[in-house]
Amino acid sequence: MSGLLSTAVSGLQASQNALRTAGHNISNANTAGFSRQQVNYVTRPEYGIGAAGYLGNGVTTESIERVVNEFTITQLRLDTSAFHQLDKYNTNIGQVDKLFADEGTGLSGSLQSFFAALQNGADDPSSIPARQLVISQAESLSARFNNLHNRLKAIESGVNQEVKAVTAQMTALAQSIANLNQAINDKGAGGQGSPNDLLDQRDEALRKLSELTSIQIVKQNDGNVNVFIGNGQPLVVGQKVSKFDVRDGGQIYLTNGVQTADVTAQISGGQLGGLLQFREDVLNPAMNELGRVAIVLADQFNQLQQQGLDMDGDYGQLLFGDINTQEAMADRIRHGRNALPDDRRLSLAIDNPALLTNSDYSFQIVPNTNNYIVTRAADDKIVSQGMLTGAYPLEISFDGLTLNLEGGSFQGGDSFTLQPTINGARDIKTQLTRPEDLAFAVAVRTGTSSGNTGSGVISSGEVLGLVDSNGNTLPAFASAGQLSPPVIIRFTSATTYDVLDNSDPANPKHLNPPMRDQVFIPGVDNPVFSTDVGETRVMGDGGRTGLPSGRTPASLPIGSLVGQVNAYPAEQYTFVMTNPVTGSVSSQVVTTQANASAAQTAAMLSNISGVSANAMTTAAISDININDFSAPLQISVNGVDLLQYTAGAPDISIPDPTVPGNLAAFNDYLAEQINGNADLASLGIRAVSGSNPITGAPELQMVASSGVNLDIRFTATTAGNSIGVHDSNGNPTVTLTESTAGNQSAITVGGRIDITMADGVELRTSPTTSQLLGDSTAADFAQSSYLGYQVTIKGQPQAGDTFTVDFNSNASNDNRNALRFVELETKGTIDNGALSLSGGYSRLVETVGTKSNLSSINTSASKSLLEQTQTLRDSVSGVNLDEEAADLIKFEQMYNANARVISVARDLFDTLLNSV
């Protein structure tokens, strides 16, 4: 009977436990992280009754366990991290996205207004109100850049604040996990089953932590869980907790009491991951891209502005602030945690904004070496590397930038972050205030002489740049209000022209270095000047060119084909070429032939790449003394007899040179003979009958534009007959006199060579003082032939036609430079010409928009995933009230039944007592 009672009591206890558990489940139906619990029963040890076997002994509560699926819990944590990362990212990117696209806050509206104002200015360049509008719009444009930058900065500082708050929360959660570890450990130590509610609390704390960042969990045998973040940085180990710390503008450090490490780059997932991803992926590139647009805009406008003329006729001042101020250049560098002393001075200059990328760079000195590496952050590509020599300043150039190490204790292990464009939008400002100072005019203008007989047309002219390859002002633009010197382009024939200094229009003279005998191709656009900023020209001006003093005439048999020589020496010319991009140096040696004509030598030199040589020969016949105008009198040029003979006597059409005052007419005849001869024309030889510019004495001036020798011979037998020959180049006159019958007196005049060398080409001669070119060590040996402006001539000019290029003074109605400003709206200026200014901004909007679009899709996908996993977890562990209600009924009935057993036992007992 006691057995029956005890069995019934065990049933009562079991059903009470079950009812309490159901009550616990019902009361916790809404507790976060709570897992429903269920009671497990086992039969009590049975009771042996001999051979009959065993008698059951009731029930006992074996365990109360929570219904969980470890896999689901882990999955839930992963999905929580993934969702919260995307969600945080998505919320933040939405702000930036709307900021850029909104007409009220974005850049495109300001850009449009600015360019519209420029068009207005170009429409009426003399209008001050129109110019004022340009300045106002420029101011509002730079203010818009500044505002956008400040908004991004504000968002960044908000992000950093949030990073701080999140990491504080993570530290708190880690601490509570450690505490729970301790409590679970304590309870588990008694071997009394699992503390279900504590386990639930710990799981919930872990889930909350995974909302903030991705975590990895390792369960220990003693019931502790260890929590790691990133690449295995321990956050919780047993009861030990590491702490977060945010410093240096948003960098995250993890301290475990002994060591501190920067874990910023390793954190992923969760809200923190989302914040960091937003900062790295969206905010910095956006600031860089915006900065790049600002820098290119400022630079392009400043360059054009400086090349143009303002209303006062002065070269324009900067419209926007200089992009390379000392302050801005130093501001582009962020120093890493480098070894003390902190004395390194660096600056980053932007040389060519067109080549700018929107990436940051890292400049590192490899530990324990002097080797440096510059890496582009966007694609981790090494853009420059080399060795530090220890001598400063040192310049390192890459991607349109120059990093200047000014000095300090640079050493192995140093690292610097270079941010060329991040502050561009912050720093842009409109500097110009006077509307008259806008440079709408171009500094040069061209003119066509009314006397031109040909149909040549000159372009209106453009300025290529105001500075030479060293950054110094070019001589042409050195004096305010004038072109130094103004030039005149004079056609010497239909296909050749000289460019002369027109300072004195009555007497134009050669430029220095000269541009003589240039080739013109009729019918196409002929650019007149060099566009190569580094181009130099060596002017043929040595001791032996032309007809140097000391040359004497030779007496030769008439018509002797044995040519005379120009007595030019053989010389060795070494052209040293430095590749402007790579810096590699090569050289080419040419040895000229002795007595070669200038034409031959020039042809040989022109074969060298980067070198073009132009040869030309000039000579004049002067001091004609002829007293016997009869056979065999003859003057020949390059084998062509000039005096025509009829019946053995000089033709009667020839003006008699023995008559005083006939010499000019005689020269006219000679010039006609030369100009009418096809053989001479094919050698480019032409002549004019002119005068000595000083004495006015008549002389016959000859030019061979091919640079062939001019072989001049004089045949006369009567004493006292002579002609003078000089080279029109400053050397003394040589006199050809009468000779013995059958012979003629002859002299050969050599030409001179002008050598034009492209950027990076240098000429050295051996001997150093070249007989043909002069002293090659002299500072003015090779002179820059870059004038900084350009005009083109087309059509078919005639000999004698002239065009002028002069300073564009009083040009209040010139809008050519303004039109170039306007062009910048659509011209490719960013990314090596791939993008226009507005294109650069559109791309920024598109990039951010695409990222935002993608992130919103990903967020909703990961939200669904999270919801599914949550549903899965709830379906396993969640409390179903109906289920619990059923349990309540079930266990109530069980309780009732057991109570009934007790009552049976009592009846049995009463029956037994009554029977006694």
């Binding site: 068009q119 003394p732 004698g800 039109l819 559109s842 598109e846 549903t871 179903n880 209600a885």
Partner: protein, 523 residues
């Protein structure tokens, strides 16, 4: 599947939240009328919208430009029409004036007076200003009066050949002005003629002037053509007795046409078939000089024992002087330089040497170089390294350019001068008749030139008109694309809203139903 009670609520929550978000979004779209609420909705469309908005703002600006361009060109047209009328009247006069048999010098006086007043009118037309005060025919120099009278019937153009251009569309760039040079100056002439001008570098104050000039003997002048002439004033010492005198040379070859002619202000100068006058007092050249300072301490300098040379250059010509006699003082040295062949060489260079120094009377600067230490002592100059005089200045000069073009105003001015100077003899009348013919030809050329410019202006107006049409087309097109991309389809949106609200209310109703189902209600 087992369902927990919280799931029932969660599922309802999620469903209702989604439905609510969709309703709110559609509501926002309807309220703003925009399909895209942020670039994230459709990044590619958002960028296209930016570009199209820019394109539209450009088109708006182009249309403004076109209006301004049309105004400019219309103003030019009006001026050109007035000039055309003026030329027609001048042609009438020229035809009438050809009636030499009847007309008297008095009649010609009257005609000349009318022409003179018409010249004034023409000058005003050529100096037309725009509403903003800019001279429309001055090229870039809108603030400078382009046509001015130089006196002597000579008018000069002070503008340039610049053209103002405006952007009429993305690809079309239209010139909206023409230079006065092109319209009124560079008019083809029926015969080769001249254009006279003073060198802007002239120094005389007040400036000497050159008359407009006439070609009096066409045949002789045609021989010279296309060579230009330069009248240069020489040192007064070039003629004896010393007087102002000039030399006329060909500009390019330097050939001397008239040497050292004595100058009388206002006198007719005839050369190569051209007649002209120069008035005023042109400045002669300022001689270039290098003063000697004989170093007495170094005397005697024995060039006989140590012969040497000295190289002298003037204007690109060089001579080498020989020094081979002993000199004791400055006079000896000057004599040495003037002795023997040296004298001819100095004369070749136009130099004179005195004990005081070396002088280049024509104002060309002189260079001494190649001397040794002895020469340096004798001259007191550093001839060893080279020394150049800097005080030389050229004399005033005047240009007589050969040209086959004649400005309209010059045609009238020459015609008027010929009328005033008419010689009432048969020969004079015949010569005048020739002048009348030339004038008529030139007036016709002027008319042709102006008509062609007028035609060009018309063509530009057409270009502007078609650019306007083109801009309108692309504006319509851009607006359509913009509408498609940006604007909301209200029909679609309201249908969608209806559906979304239906879903939301269904979710709400089903939640209410489901949440009421609990076993506890029956306990």
């Amino acid at each position: 599947m087992r369902v927990s009670t919280s799931q029932i609520y969660n599922i309802a929550n999620i469903g209702m939240a989604k439905a609510q978000a969709a309703v709110t979004r559609t509501d926002e779209q309807i309220a703003s009328g925009k399909r895209l609420l942020s670039p994230a909705d459709d990044p590619v469309a958002a960028t296209t919208i930016l570009q199209i908005t820019q394109e539209l703002s450009r088109i708006e600006q182009y249309n403004k430009n076109i209006t301004i361009a049309e105004n400019n060109l219309n103003l030019e047209e009006v001026a050109l029409e007035s000039v055309t009328n003026l030329i027609h009247r001048m042609k009438e006069i020229a035809v009438a004036a050809g009636n030499t048999a009847v007309l008297t010098p008095d009649d010609y006086e009257a005609y000349a007076a009318e022409i003179d007043s018409r010249i004034e009118e023409l000058l005003n037309l050529q100096n037309t200003r725009s509403s903003t005060g800019q001279y429309i025919f001055a090229g870039y120099q809108g603030g400078t009066q382009p046509f001015t009278s130089d006196g002597g019937g000579n008018y000069s153009y002070r503008g340039d050949e610049g053209q103002l251009r405006l952007q009429a569309s993305n690809t079309v760039n239209v010139a909206v002005s023409d230079s006065g040079k092109r319209i009124f100056m560079d008019i083809p002439s029926g015969h080769n003629t001249i254009a006279t001008s003073a060198n802007p570098a002239n120094r005389a104050v007040p400036a000497a002037t050159i008359s407009v000039g006439q070609v009096v003997d066409q045949e002789v002048f045609d021989e010279l053509f296309p060579e230009d002439m330069v009248v240069t004033f020489n040192a007064t010492s070039a003629v004896a007795p010393a007087a102002a005198n000039y030399t006329i040379t060909e500009r390019n070859s330097g050939r001397v046409l008239v040497a050292n002619a004595v100058y009388t202000p206002g006198q007719e100068i005839e050369v190569e078939g051209v007649s002209l006058q120069i008035s005023g007092a042109p400045m002669p050249p300022t001689a270039a000089s290098l003063p000697f300072a004989f170093n007495a301490a170094a005397a005697p300098i024995d060039f006989a024992a140590n012969p040497t040379t000295l190289t002298v250059s003037v204007g690109g010509r060089t001579e080498t002087l020989d020094l081979n006699v002993a000199v004791n003082n400055a006079t000896d040295f000057a004599n040495a330089l003037n002795a023997g062949p040296n004298a001819a060489k100095l004369a070749n260079l136009g130099l004179t040497v005195t004990p005081a120094g070396i002088v280049s009377a024509n104002g060309m600067n002189v260079t001494l170089r190649g001397g040794n230490a002895d020469v340096d002592n004798a001259t007191g100059l550093t001839t060893s390294t080279g020394v150049i005089s800097t005080n030389g200045r050229p004399g005033d000069s005047f240009f007589v350019e050969s040209t086959n073009k004649q400005p309209l105003i010059t045609t009238l001015s020459r015609f008027s001068q010929a009328m005033k100077a008419i010689d009432n003899t048969p020969e004079g009348k015949a010569q005048f008749k020739e002048m009348v013919d030339k004038t008529l030809v030139n007036l016709n050329f002027a008319l042709t030139n102006i008509t062609s410019v007028h035609g060009e202006v018309g063509a530009r107006l057409n270009t502007l008109e078609s650019s306007k049409d083109l801009n309108l087309d692309s504006e319509v097109h851009s607006n359509k694309v913009l509408g498609d991309l940006r604007d909301l389809d209200y029909a679609e949106a309201s249908t969608r809203l209806q559906m979304e609200t239906f879903i939301l209310s269904a979710a709400q109703q089903s939640f209410v139903k489901v949440s009421q189902l609990t076993l506890f209600s029956y306990l």
